[in-house]
């Protein structure tokens, strides 16, 4: 509890935090609106999942989430503040848990603002369509996207704790998120492509945004988010293992 309070104060008083949280919202909404405005639809069907399209900005927003989470850890190691932190709070796993909790909470709060705005903007910008996704699917996509961004924060936090270098950690996170889909595109063997889409953190996790043609997805929406959760858990586990095993 005290650890939570301390980590919350630390996050709150870091001047970058509010800008990054605003950046998550701005990036998500801006790219979503842009994608919805740029699309040219034929008659009453855009051929695309309108909900997923209106959440395109998640691709950009997650990068800002990764910065926030990586800096929350990496910034302490680069300045030596980590030694002060673990002197004041010697229970390292408690600190990691508290940090993960407050960073994720902040990200989820920002995402909870960004996602509804993006969806409303998409609704306003996209022409009326013949396909209307069921309300439960829309709700799943929205709530799932908020969770998705929270899990990206945890993945980034875990990797940063394990690597202790902001540059290396952010490079790894962005590589995992952005490069695997590009590699997947290049693989023409459909079986391999499917395996990659099922296991890569971004393509699996974003399955949660789908509201139509669910049977064509490489895996079901919640299972996809589950795959991302496994990635996040793995990263946090790696971070915890490093934290316990190494001198600060």
């Amino acid at each position: 509890m005290r650890q939570l309070h301390a980590e919350w104060t630390k996050l709150r008083t870091s001047p970058g935090t509010k800008w990054l949280l605003a950046g998550i919202i701005a990036a998500t909404v801006a790219l979503s609106a842009l994608a919805c405005a740029a699309i040219v639809c034929r008659a009453s069907d855009c051929g695309q999942d309108p909900v997923k399209l209106s959440l395109t900005g998640t691709l950009l927003g997650q990068a800002v989430v990764a910065i926030l989470a990586v800096l929350a850890v990496g910034g302490e190691y680069s300045t030596g503040l980590a030694r002060v932190t673990y002197t004041a709070m010697p229970r390292r796993l408690g600190v990691l848990a508290a940090k993960a909790a407050v960073v994720t909470a902040a990200v989820v709060a920002a995402a909870a603002v960004a996602v509804p705005i993006s969806m409303l903007a998409g609704h306003a910008l996209l022409p009326a369509q013949s396909f209307t996704p069921p309300a439960s699917a829309v709700l799943r996509a929205g709530a799932g996207t908020v969770l998705y961004l929270g899990l990206i924060a945890l993945l980034s936090l875990g990797l940063a704790t394990a690597m202790r270098s902001s540059a290396a950690a952010i490079g790894t996170v962005l590589g995992l998120l952005f490069v695997i889909p590009i590699l997947t595109q290049a693989v023409s063997d459909p079986a391999w492509q499917r395996h990659l889409e099922q296991s890569a953190p971004m393509s699996a996790g974003l399955a949660i945004q789908a509201t139509r043609d669910l049977q064509d997805l490489p895996l079901s929406p919640w299972a996809g988010l589950g795959v991302l959760a496994l990635w996040a858990a793995g990263a946090l586990g790696l971070g915890a293992w490093t934290l316990l095993g190494r001198d600060v």
């Binding site: 994608a35 639809c41 395109t56 691709l59 540059a167 490079g171 962005l174 490069v179 590009i182 590699l183």
Partner: protein
């Protein structure tokens, strides 16, 4: 400056983390290039399954399939005919549909035998591009515009005179104008001369929204009626090339009272990759560039932010008070190192990666030596300038996490967006103005006006030529470095 370069080089090569990242960048490129997950069927299903492609007189792969009604002609000579009607059909999953392919072709041709890829020259009417004179697959010259209709027939004439062929057209058979006179070297004394009809594969985006998934396509056919022939028979008919997988129904010829009705499907043109083509390009081997990019971005950013983190910048600037020069030296050392490494790795990957792909039975479009060289050097330049851009971001933002993200978001994300989610129009704009434009350096198959295809980024076609793409990346780099230098001058270290 020499001392400064030497100092920066020493800094770069003495940090184990960066050496590791360089090796990792090279390793990622090699691994992804030489161990691709691609499998193909060429040559893997027994001796008959080799994918033999027609190669034109210029060494590039070509399509050479059409319905050919011909006779031999020795020495110089002329053929004249009138195309009085031309119609086209598209063969979709729902059956035939009347739709003329814009590049459906019907006309007269002189050809060096029936072997695929042999030299030719032809004058023709097209579905939507008027009269054309084309020869040896790559070369195309426009004549009078306008489609052939019943009321508007088109007269064509082809004349051989030694090694030059002249194509002419006329609206009435009286007033002729010359479309082009082209050289056709090493033509034997006896050639085949006659009429041809062909109609290429169509490809279209299923909707305008998608860059990637929504392309559909299929064969088309065209039927043309020839009359007023100035040569008498006998004529023989032959279907050249053509798909081995399926037969387009109705292809062939029928004599009429005054001439012939010929139906053809295929194309006489350079081969392209993408929805309307087959096979992969050599660029496929360079997919690891993206992984390598992440590593060089991290190195580029760390090369400058590392100095700020531990206050080493003060030592550096004390040793070299002219701050702009420090940045220039870092950019030069980093750029040169990454270029050298990129050149070596890209060369290995392109040369041996093709072998691996072909060994796996994948059909790789042949590329000329010059193209391969350009793609290799282009990849090295892309990585090198990108690392300097990352250095600029680092110097400007001073925080490694923010700078790495800025670099990845400006270079890799536009590419990903263009390839996956953005509408084709927006995708092409993004690839014109963002640093990702430089991926055009990796385009290995040229775009041909006279071949209908979806020339989209995800088939390896970029909106800008390679040098222009590099210029866009360089402009970004110069702008970011300039801002960074300005900031370095203005602010306390």
């Amino acid at each position: 400056m020499r001392n400064l370069l030497h100092a920066e080089w020493t800094k770069l090569r003495t940090l184990p983390g960066w050496i590791f990242a360089m090796i990792a960048a090279a390793g990622a490129m090699l691994a992804l290039g030489l161990l691709p997950g691609l499998q193909g069927s060429c040559g893997t299903q027994g001796p008959q399954s080799q994918c033999v492609a027609a190669v034109g007189p210029d060494g590039l792969e070509v399509s050479d399939s059409f319905t050919f009604v011909h006779q031999a002609m020795t020495g110089d000579g002329t053929i004249t005919a009138r195309v009085s009607q031309m119609t086209g059909q598209r063969l979709g999953p729902d059956g035939e549909q009347d739709a003329m392919a814009p590049w459906a072709k019907a006309g007269l041709i002189v050809k060096d035998g029936t072997a695929a890829g042999s030299a030719y020259a032809a004058v023709m009417v097209t579905g939507a591009h008027g009269v054309r004179m084309q020869h040896n697959y790559l070369y195309d010259k426009a004549g009078p515009a306008g489609q052939v209709t019943q009321t508007q027939p088109r007269w064509l004439r082809l004349t051989r005179s030694g090694d030059t062929i002249t194509g002419q057209s006329s609206p009435d058979g009286v007033t002729w104008n010359t479309v082009a006179t082209v050289p056709l070297k090493h033509l034997p004394p006896t050639v085949l001369i006659g009429m041809f009809v062909t109609s290429p594969q169509y490809a279209e985006a299923m909707n305008e929204s998608l860059g990637a998934v929504g392309a559909s396509g299929g064969p088309t056919k065209a039927t043309a009626t020839f009359d007023h022939l100035d040569r008498t028979g006998p004529w023989s008919e032959q279907r050249l090339g053509g798909s081995t997988n399926f037969e387009v129904p109705g292809v062939g010829f029928e004599p009429t009272d005054t001439g012939f009705t010929i139906t053809g499907s295929g194309d006489i043109a350079p081969a392209v990759a993408g929805p309307a083509g087959a096979g992969v390009s050599i660029t496929e081997t360079l997919v690891g560039t993206f992984a390598a990019l992440i590593f060089v971005v991290v190195i580029g950013v760390g090369y400058i932010t590392g100095e700020y983190r531990h206050g080493m910048i003060r030592m550096t600037l004390a040793a070299t008070p002219r701050r702009g020069r420090v940045l220039a030296a870092k950019a030069a050392v980093l750029g040169a190192t990454v270029f050298t490494l990129g050149l070596a790795v890209a060369a290995i990957v392109v040369i041996f990666g093709q072998k691996v792909l072909r060994g796996n039975g994948v059909y790789v479009l042949p590329a000329t030596g010059a193209t391969q060289l350009r793609v290799i050097a282009g990849t090295a330049a892309l990585l090198s300038v990108a690392s300097v851009l990352a250095l600029g971001w680092g110097a400007l933002l001073r925080r490694s996490a923010t700078a790495v993200t800025a670099a990845v978001l400006t270079i890799v994300l536009p590419y990903l967006l263009a390839m996956t989610v953005l509408p084709a129009g927006a995708a092409q704009w993004l690839l014109r103005i963002s640093p990702a434009a430089a991926f055009a350096l990796q385009q290995s198959t040229p775009q041909y006006y006279q071949v209908a295809n979806l020339y989209l980024p995800n088939s390896g076609y970029y909106p800008l030529p390679g040098w222009a793409g590099l210029a866009v990346l360089a402009a970004w780099t110069a702008a970011v470095l300039g801002l960074a230098a300005h900031r370095l001058h203005r602010r306390d270290a």
